[in-house]
């Protein structure tokens, strides 16, 4: 019978089926970070349980870590206690951890693929919603809560119900300069933040196949912003070339055997989906979010919308609240919105390609006078090292950016990197909720090139006209 990519991977991981249609699903890989794991380890300890398979889990601290002055350690005692708890738990249970001084430390979703810990056809979980990132490898990758982190540690399994299937095709050629991030924001703008609820989404079509692995990860990363359980992309030569030679990827005969198995990781030609959508790549312009939900997003050529033109009362109400919070007036062209801070980084856009794209925009230029802070925060120590080898750090510094150490940083502002009340930020992260980047802070989601250009201009600009 014809199967979707999701069904192929799912079926390979079913341990047992329950009467109500749920299954016990085997999990190949668990990534662990400091925020959602302490209560899970505590649960194991209280119940006297041990991890089922210690080498299936790999940990790194990312949410709380400082991005400068690392030699002074973590000054905030509460953050420090959480990172130290991760160190102690990993040591006690024998789990591999890339700690603060390790070059491999970084945002879990950057570190995992970079190390070859994420392989095609795997089931991957992490106590973090952006685990969806790893679907870019043809893996089923899902964010889970802390109780489930404990469940996977204890049993290597999860009780799951098979989600419905949706395929979103993007056909054609993306205009020059458009990235996986623009595709993600465009799709969320079309289907809404609940558009994917209950579904596993497969992204397909010629424009998706043409994306780099970095672009595919940015896109799958934001599947959760569309409400989906996970997002996936079929395995092809791009996937295999990315995985090859990474530290935890198979080598020698095992590599040949694995590669042969991975060739089948795509939906069969006559596979049936519960829902199919299609978009034209040519329609995708640089995206800028204007509101307090990722679905409140428009092309850079648009203006802030009027709640009177909303689809219904619920949307109108949401838009009105967003305009107040964001201090924006309906009808204002997006290009006239001036900003205070710029953040380039996160699990959405903290990879080497993102910094290359951003650096190309700022090279030989300087950030505008109204910008209080422009930060470039690599997603991992290895991204940082690579960028420095290419001289990108100097490009950023000369333009007036701060070049930081790896971590989540101002994506969610659990460390010292945050917006002050009322400050407006061009951010390459994935969420623009109220208070996300600091209480009272205002976030506009954009691609790295758009954020970099906004830093130079002091307001949003259309990078298609940028010289």
């Amino acid at each position: 019978m014809a199967k979707t990519l999701f069904e192929k991977v799912w079926d390979q991981h079913v341990v047992t089926k329950n009467d109500d249609g749920s299954v016990l699903l085997y999990i190949d890989r668990q990534l662990v970070h400091e925020v959602t794991s302490p209560q899970a380890f505590e649960g194991l300890r209280l119940a006297g349980r041990k991890p089922w398979r210690v080498n299936a889990s790999v940990a790194t601290p990312d949410h709380n870590v400082p991005t400068n002055n690392r030699d002074q350690g973590i000054t905030d005692p509460v953050s420090r206690a959480q990172v130290e708890a991760l160190d102690a738990n990993c040591a006690e249970f024998g789990i591999t951890e890339f700690g603060l001084g390790d070059i491999r430390q970084g945002v879990v979703h950057v570190m995992g693929p970079e190390q070859g810990l994420i392989l095609p056809g795997m089931t991957v979980v992490c106590g973090d919603s952006h685990t969806s990132t790893h679907g870019a490898f043809g893996a089923i990758a899902m964010g889970i809560g802390t109780s489930e982190v404990e469940h996977v540690l204890a049993s290597q399994c999860l009780i799951q119900k098979q989600p419905k299937s949706m395929r979103i095709r993007v056909e054609g050629t993306l205009p020059a300069g458009m990235t996986g991030k623009d595709v993600a924001l465009y799709i969320i703008g079309k289907i809404g933040t609940a558009g994917g609820t209950g579904y596993a989404i497969e992204f397909a079509g010629s424009a998706i196949r043409a994306l780099s692995m970095e672009g595919r990860m940015s896109l799958c990363n934001m599947t959760i912003e569309a409400g989906a359980r996970c997002g996936m992309i079929a395995v092809d030569d791009v996937t295999i070339a990315y995985v090859k030679g990474r530290p935890y990827a198979p080598a020698g005969d095992a590599w040949l055997q694995a590669r042969e198995a991975w060739v089948d990781l795509h939906s069969d030609a006559d596979a049936v989906f519960d829902k199919e959508l299609q978009f034209n790549a040519e329609d995708i312009a640089p995206q800028v979010s204007w509101g307090t939900s990722p679905e409140m997003v428009l092309p850079i050529t648009a203006s802030v919308p009027d709640p009177q033109h909303a689809r219904d009362d619920v949307q109108s109400d949401g838009w009105s609240r967003a305009l107040v919070y964001m201090d924006l007036k309906a009808g204002t062209p997006l290009q006239e919105i001036t900003i205070d801070k710029v953040f380039i980084g996160s699990c959405t856009n903290g990879r080497i390609e993102d910094f290359r794209e951003a650096a190309a925009m700022v090279k030989g230029k300087s950030v505008a006078g109204n910008i209080k802070l422009a930060m470039a925060v690599p997603g991992s120590g290895l991204v940082k090292q690579q960028a420095e080898a290419e001289g990108l750090d100097e490009v950023f510094r000369q333009a007036g950016f701060e070049w930081r150490d790896p971590g989540c940083s101002m994506c969610l502002a659990m460390n010292a990197d945050r917006l002050e009340p009322g400050e407006r930020c061009a951010s390459t992260s994935n969420r623009n909720f109220e208070g996300r980047q600091g209480m009272g802070g205002r976030t506009h989601l954009v691609s790295p090139a758009m954020a970099a250009a906004a830093a130079i201009a002091g307001h949003f600009v259309d990078i298609r006209d940028w010289s």
């Binding site: 390979q12 206690a81 809560g145 469940h151």
Partner: protein, 211 residues
């Protein structure tokens, strides 16, 4: 885990769609390594005028007069009614922990974000999905009656109003079973250790590079 069987309790309304986990429990409270103590910080940025930090004594913090849960009539509420896509955003289980710690053990909405919905069941909270029309009835009744209560019966899968109106809801058999009995689903899974071991052996044979 605390079992959930029946509940007759006061209802509090949050008439707003897309309430995200950053609003339910802001990130600074995620630094705690405990499962409890989050209740006073539930909806912190909406509830208080000042900026909350973990460990603060909330009893004297200035409260926002316009925030619905600050109204006296909703203080003892244990059932929250709200709008579509409740709990969207992050996977933080701190969100249901905060809801539970603040005294709520049932949330009713037209839809929930997947991970949040799942997290509720792991913590003895019953999330109930009712359609928009039913939600409108609940919101109207709540606005019209001081001390508005609902009677929830998980075994019968019903939500009953004092007026006699009864709505039924869907819930997975397995989740219902665990919640009704307060079961630890890790123990249930570990009861299948033999199946997991034999699956694992076969999986290793087929895909040795994963081990």
């Amino acid at each position: 885990m605390q079992a959930f069987t029946t509940l007759k309790a006061l209802v509090a309304p949050m008439d707003r769609a897309n309430i995200d986990t950053d609003a339910i429990i802001p990130k600074q409270f995620l630094k705690s390594i405990k499962r409890t103590g989050y209740g006073p910080f539930l909806f912190d940025e909406w509830r208080y005028e000042d900026h909350g930090e973990p460990g603060m004594d909330c009893s004297n913090r200035p409260k926002r007069a316009d925030f619905v849960l600050n109204q006296k009539r909703f203080q003892a509420a244990q059932i929250l009614i709200t709008r579509e896509n409740f709990g969207c955003g992050s996977s933080r289980e701190h969100a249901p922990w905060a809801i539970l710690d603040a005294g709520f053990s049932c949330v009713i909405a037209p839809s929930f974000a997947d991970i949040f919905y799942n997290n509720c069941f792991k913590n003895g909270i019953l999330p109930i999905v009712l359609d928009d029309a039913a939600m409108d009835v609940l919101f109207d009744a709540c606005a019209a009656n001081d001390g508005f209560t609902l009677q929830i019966d998980l075994a019968a899968q019903t939500v009953s109003l004092a007026s006699g109106v009864v709505f039924t809801f869907e819930v997975d058999d397995f989740r219902k079973h665990c919640l009704l009995n307060g079961l630890d689903d890790i123990a249930l899974t570990l009861a299948q250790t033999d199946s997991i071991r034999s699956y694992e052996q076969e999986h290793k044979r087929q895909a040795p590079w994963l081990f």
